[in-house]
């Protein structure tokens, strides 16, 4: 069967299953994206900004707090999507055998994987809604252009969720997620222009930062909340889209190898 034949709209049913499950626990999950930006703004804005003059970014002179505020939305997108398709999907696949049950129905494995990734993007979207509202009320997001952050959060969620799913397909045990987190997520979190501009990195390291999907996510959020960015938004959208498609495909490949044998 060709890949296209394996994917139908039926994947929405799996997405819905995750939504139904989430409705039981959303009240707890709601608090993190609500409080997290406040904590960061408090810590960096009050504690840190005294040590930093301000940041020159894409022709703007920004306070340090204003510089990092958009990055908080972008990193929330990353954490939400990545955790969903790594730890949460691994639990469903390995411990709860949810995928095994689904595979005995007309669903294909590719539809299940697609649904998991789209679900992770949905969670990233939800987190972005809350964080954008909080940061908007604090005056860190321009409106109405800031509303464009939301579709970007969904796209970024697809990219981060896809690579998370890829790691789930090749990770032998749940403890081993420490490895991609240590080697990939943590450097990406620190060096994607999140807490300081990429231009502060040594020349040799800058192209590496540009390869991180989080860099493009941060750029997009800054573009729509500040009105200016270093990289053209279409480049960032294109990069995230390509990243999502490639890793979604790879995730389907490795999951098929892992589960169908």
């Amino acid at each position: 069967m060709m890949m296209a034949e394996k994917i139908s709209w039926r994947f929405v049913k799996v997405w819905r299953r995750n939504l139904v499950t989430y409705q039981k626990i959303w009240k707890v999950n709601f608090i993190t994206p609500l409080l997290e930006p406040l904590l960061y703004i408090l810590a960096f804005g009050l504690g840190f900004s005294g040590m930093v003059e301000g940041v020159d970014y894409a022709g703007l002179q920004l306070s340090y707090t204003a510089f990092i505020a958009p990055a908080l939305i972008a990193t929330a997108v990353m954490w939400n999507a990545f955790f969903e398709t790594t730890y949460a999907s691994f639990v469903r696949m390995y411990y709860q055998k949810t995928f095994d049950g689904m595979l005995a129905t007309p669903l294909t494995l590719e539809e299940i994987i697609l649904a998991e990734v789209v679900w992770s993007a949905t969670k990233a979207f939800g987190a972005a809604v809350i964080m954008m509202t909080v940061l908007g009320l604090l005056g860190f997001v321009d409106f109405p252009s800031g509303l464009l952050i939301l579709p970007m959060a969904f796209l970024g969620g697809l990219a981060m969720g896809s690579i998370g799913m890829f790691f789930t397909g090749i990770t032998p045990t749940i403890d081993m997620f420490n490895l991609p987190i240590f080697l990939f997520i943590t450097p990406m979190f620190l060096f994607s222009g999140t807490f300081f501009p990429v231009s502060n990195l040594p020349a040799w390291a800058q192209p590496m930062a540009l390869a991180f999907p989080l860099y493009h996510m941060v750029e997009l959020v800054r573009c729509f909340s500040l009105g200016s960015s270093q990289t053209h938004p279409l480049v960032c959208i294109g990069y995230l889209l390509l990243f999502a498609v490639i890793f979604l495909y790879l995730a389907m490949r490795v999951m098929r190898k892992r589960l169908i044998n």
Partner: protein
Amino acid sequence: MTAIIEAQNLIKRYDGFTAVDDLSFSVAPGEFFGLLGPNGAGKTTTIRMLYGFSPVTEGRLRVFGLDIDRDRRAIKARIGVCQQDNTLDPDLSVEQNLLIFAGYFGIPATEARHRAGELLDFFALGHKKDAKVMALSGGMARRLILARALINEPDLLILDEPTTGLDPQSRHQVWEKLAALKQRGLTVLMTTHYMEEAAQLCDRLVIVDHGKILVDGAPPDLIARHAGGDVIEIEGPDQALRDHIARNNVAHDDLGRKLIVYTTAESDMNTTIRNNFCTDRCTFRSSTLEDVFLRLTGRELRE
């Protein structure tokens, strides 16, 4: 009439290891078919190939006359699978498990609720419909898995060890429900380690070992053919008995401390042994499917 399942020279290899080796069998509509064998015989592998969990290495596998590789989605829409592992969704309630599962088959919500209600009643789970799956006993969970496997009103039900790990009460209740389904004409393929279960439920069964079929037939015929009609178990047999049996060329298994003799009720052997050789302890009983199974697959441990 086309067979519901038709397996021809089915082979499954996992890097070098042959799990299923040239297996051929067919299941007719309305038949309750048993797939028996020791651990590692290839039963679960065969079942996994049937619902597309495992690609066929060689040979042909057709379900409802459709090819398993080409028409997998169409086939899966018409089968119900009760897997060995508990694959219930622990995040959902009992009823939600059925409703969400119905969604995977594209069953409309109102129809799904109607069917879920009927199935929960049939499996005596109606009072638990809002319970968490985690809170169910083993027997109830197993019945819920069965209910879930029937939500799409399948033309073929696949059961992989449906009563393993259940207490006798729960097991009997599951048997009763399976017998009722059989009465309705549902085609069933079942694997089990309980010979009593297979003898009671199956119209026909095959015993497989090392990926090959050893025998094929209805349980009573298999018993008559491979374990006589009667069995005598003699504990602490002496040499005189062993000589007597060898002289008369009687079917038997010598386990050292125990001798098992397969005879027929009318045979003189019965009386002879009862009168002359029961020095320690003798058990006279009818032969069972378990005797057939052990005679054909041997008594050595597999794992």
